[in-house]
Symmetry: C2
Subunit: 445 residues, 2 copies
C-alpha cells in the first residue's frame, strides 16, 4: 500500500458498574481498573457507569501521567456516568441527552435517574481530527417482554442522528460504550446502517477474548446467570465502532476482551468485560484518492441497495415507536381515569361528611379516623396520577417527535431511492405517491 501516513490508536471501553454502596467491591475494582489503565496506556479510554464524581476524580488523579486529559460528562441528578480519559488533548466536548430513558417509578431499574446521554470529544491523532463518542443506552431487563424497547429504539435513533450530524468534518469516528443491544437488534442495525459505523469485533483481523465477542458472560461472578437466559454463555452488548472518511481509512488490526477473571485478583474489573481495539488510521495520498474514486463508484453501485435497506430499518423502527406511542397513550388514559376516580371519591367523601354537618342536631358518632385516612388516600391518588399524566405527556411528545423525524427521513430516503436508475424491486411498494408528504404512512395514523 502506498499510504503516506499511518497511526495506531488503542481504544478501551468498559462499563465500570460503579454504583456506590450497591455494586460489589466498587473501590477495589476502581483501584484495579486504575492500575490496568495506568499500565496499558491506551490512547483513549471510554468508561460508562462512573456515577460518582469522587470515583472519577480518584481515577483522574491516578491516571494523571498516563492519561493527562479527561472529561466527566455531567447530566441529570446522578450524572450520565460517562467519562473519557485520553493521552491526547481533548479539544472540545459536547453532550446530547436522550429524550427518553425509562420510567421514574421503575426505581428498581434505576435507569431514569441516571441522565443517559451520548458524550462527544474532539481529539487530534497527529494531523487527523477524531470525533470520539461514548454512550450507555437503557438496559434490557426482559428480552421476551421488553417494555423499554421503544425507549431504546428512540435512543438509538437520537444516537445515530447525533453521530451523523456532528461527525461530518471528522477524519475518524470512534464510538464506544454499552449499547445494551445484541448485534442484530433493531436499534443496532439502525445505528450501523445510518452512520456507516463498523463493528471492531466483526472487522478485526485478529481477536482474543470471550467466545463470540461476548461482553456479559455467565462466568462473571457478578452476573446472575438466570438473567442471561436463554443465552447460556453470555451476550455481546458492548461495542467499539469506528469509521474513516474520504481522507482516512481505518482498519481494526486487533481486538480483545477481558475474560472474566483478572490475574492475581479475586474478582473481575466489572460485571461487563472490557473491550480493547487497536485501530490503524491511514491517511490517503491524493493518488490513492483517485483509486478510491474507482472504489467509490463501485460502492455507489450498492448504494441503492443500502438506501433500500435503510428504508426498511427506519420503517421497522417507526413501527416500534408507534407501539410505544400506543402504550404511552393507554398509560396516560389509565392515569387520567384513575385521577378522575380519585376526585370522585373525594367529592363523595366530602358529601358524606357534609350530611351530619348539615343535619346539625344529629348526634351520630362521626368516623373521624376513616375519614382522614380516606381523604389522604384520595390526595395521594390525585397527586400520583397528576404526576404520571405529566410524565406520560412528556413521553408521548418525545415518541411523537421521533416518529415525525422518522417519517421525514423515510420520505427523504425514498426520494433518494427514486433517483437511482435501478431501485430494488422489493422496495417498490415503499415509494411514495406524488404529493407533499411521503405517503406510505398516514401521519395521522
Amino acid at each position: 500500500m502506498a499510504n503516506s501516513d499511518s497511526v495506531n490508536v488503542r481504544v478501551l471501553s468498559l462499563n465500570c458498574w460503579g454504583i456506590r454502596y450497591v455494586s460489589k467491591h466498587t473501590l477495589q475494582r476502581y483501584a484495579m481498573i486504575g492500575d490496568m489503565l495506568c499500565k496499558e496506556e491506551h490512547d483513549v479510554v471510554l468508561l460508562q457507569e462512573v456515577w460518582s464524581e469522587k470515583d472519577y476524580l480518584s481515577l483522574k488523579k491516578k491516571l494523571a501521567c498516563s492519561h493527562p486529559h479527561s472529561h466527566h460528562f455531567k447530566s441529570g441528578v446522578i450524572g450520565s456516568g460517562l467519562a473519557i480519559f485520553s493521552k491526547h488533548r481533548i479539544h472540545e466536548t459536547f453532550l446530547y441527552r436522550y429524550s427518553l430513558n425509562g420510567y421514574p417509578y421503575m426505581a428498581q431499574h434505576g435507569d431514569w435517574f441516571g441522565g443517559k446521554a451520548v458524550g462527544m470529544a474532539v481529539l487530534k491523532f497527529g494531523s487527523l481530527t477524531a470525533n470520539v463518542y461514548v454512550t450507555h443506552l437503557h438496559a434490557e431487563y426482559c428480552r421476551d417482554k421488553d417494555s423499554y424497547l421503544p425507549h431504546r429504539v428512540v435512543q438509538a435513533w437520537e444516537l445515530q442522528q447525533f453521530v451523523r450530524h456532528t461527525s461530518v468534518g471528522a477524519d475518524v469516528v470512534i464510538l464506544g460504550g454499552d449499547l445494551n443491544m445484541h448485534p442484530q437488534d433493531l436499534g443496532n442495525r439502525l445505528l450501523m446502517s445510518y452512520t456507516g459505523l463498523r463493528d471492531s469485533y466483526l472487522e478485526s483481523a485478529k481477536f482474543d477474548g470471550c467466545e463470540n465477542g461476548m461482553t456479559l458472560i455467565a462466568d462473571n461472578p457478578f452476573i446472575d446467570k438466570k438473567e442471561l437466559a436463554p443465552f447460556e454463555k453470555g451476550i455481546r452488548i458492548d461495542y467499539i465502532l469506528f469509521k474513516g472518511s474520504s481522507k482516512t481509512d481505518v482498519y481494526c488490526d486487533f481486538m480483545s476482551t477481558t475474560k472474566g477473571a483478572v490475574h492475581d485478583h479475586p474478582f473481575p474489573y466489572s460485571d461487563h468485560e472490557a473491550l480493547t481495539s487497536v485501530l490503524r488510521l491511514e491517511t490517503q495520498t491524493p493518488t490513492e484518492t483517485e483509486c478510491d474514486g474507482q472504489r467509490a463508484s463501485k460502492e455507489q453501485d450498492s448504494a441503492a441497495g443500502k438506501v433500500a435497506e435503510l428504508v426498511d430499518i427506519v420503517t421497522e423502527a417507526r413501527t416500534e415507536v408507534k407501539v410505544g406511542l400506543h402504550c404511552a397513550e393507554r398509560m396516560r388514559y389509565t392515569a387520567s381515569r384513575t385521577g378522575v376516580m380519585g376526585l370522585a371519591l373525594l367529592f363523595l367523601e366530602l358529601a358524606i361528611a357534609a350530611v351530619p354537618w348539615l343535619a346539625l342536631g344529629a348526634e351520630q358518632p362521626f368516623p373521624r379516623t376513616s375519614f382522614y385516612l380516606l381523604a389522604a388516600l384520595c390526595f395521594a391518588i390525585l397527586i400520583t396520577t397528576a404526576l404520571l399524566y405529566v410524565f406520560y405527556t412528556m413521553e408521548l411528545k418525545s415518541l411523537q417527535g421521533a416518529e415525525d423525524q422518522m417519517r421525514l427521513a423515510v420520505g427523504s430516503l425514498q426520494e433518494k431511492l427514486r433517483g437511482f436508475p435501478l431501485a430494488q424491486p422489493h422496495n417498490a411498494h415503499l415509494r411514495p405517491p406524488v404529493g407533499p408528504e411521503p405517503g406510505v404512512f398516514n401521519p395521522e395514523e
Copy 2:
C-alpha cells in the same frame, strides 16, 4: 462577478406569542399570520411560541399549498413551541434540548414548562444543502438583576456547540429565532464569534423596518411599556443569522421587519415583530475558489485576533456560569438547611406527642388539630425542600458541565493561539503554562 449560480431565499422569523387562553386574540392573530404567510410565500418560515399542536395543525392546513413541508418540534410537557414551514422538502430534522431553562417554581415566568430547544432542519436549495435552525432562548424579565443570565449563557453556549458541530457539511447555514438577547449581550457575542454566523440586520444591503431593527417595540399594543424600560422605543432580540461555506457565498440583499400595526387589521401579528431576510446564495466556481484562496489567506491574518477575542468571550461566559454555580450552590444549601429544620420540627412534634402517650395515666387534653396542622406543614416543607434539592443538583450538574466544556475550549483555543506567529499581545497573559490542563483557571476553583 463570475459566479456560476445564484439562488434567492426568503426567510421569515416570528415569535407568534401563541399561549392559548393567555395571549390576546390568539386565534385571530394566527388567522392573520396564516394569511400573510400564504400570500408572501417565503421559502422558509421559522416560528416560535407555537405552543398548541392544534394551532400548528391549522396553520399546516392553511399553508398546504404555499408551504407543503413543515415540522413541529416536540419536547417537554408543553412542547418546544418551534415550528418550520418550507416550500422546499425537509429532508431531516433534529432537536437539541437545552440543559437549563429557568426554574419550575417561577410559574409566572413559565419558561421552565416549555421544553426550550433548538430545532434543525436539512433542506436543499437547488443543489445546495442548507441547515436551518430555529430556536427560542429564556426570556429576560429584568435587565438590571437578571437571575436567568447564567441559564441563557449556557443556552447560547449549547446553541453555538450544536450549530457548529452539526453544520460542517452544510453549504448554507440559517438560524432564526427569538434569542432574548440584545446584539452586544454576552450570549450573542458567544454565538456569533464561535459560529461565524452573520447578522442579517447588520449585513443587509437595504433595510425597511423599525428603527435600529427593533423587534420588540413600544408602539406594539400587546407590549407593556414599563417592561421595556430603560429602552423607551424598544429592543432588538429576534434575529435571522446566516453563513455560507467554502463552496457558497451568502449575501443579505434586503431585510425588513413589520412595524407593529398591520394594514386593515385592528392589532399586530404578535407582541414581537416579524423579520424577513432575502438571502442570495452564490455557488463559487473552481476559479473563484482560487481567488478565495487569496482572500482566505488575508482572512487568516486576522484569525489570531479572532481566536484571541473568542478566548476573552468564552472566559467572560465562564465567569458568568461560575456566578450561576455559586448561586445554585447557595440555593441548594438553603434548601437542604430548610429541609433539616423541617425534619427537626417533625421529630420535636413527635417527641411532644409521645409525652402524654408515654405518661399513660395523664388525662391532659391533647391539641389534636394543631398537631395535625403542624405535621402537615413539616411534611410539606420536607417534600418541597427535597424536590428543590434535586432540582438544584440538576442545575449544578448542567452548569458544571458547561463550565468544564468552556475550560476545555479555552485551553484548546489558547493552544491554537500559541500556534500563530504573532499572537495578540493583550492576550499573552491568557496563555497557559506548560502542563496537561489549561492553567489560567484552576479547575478546582
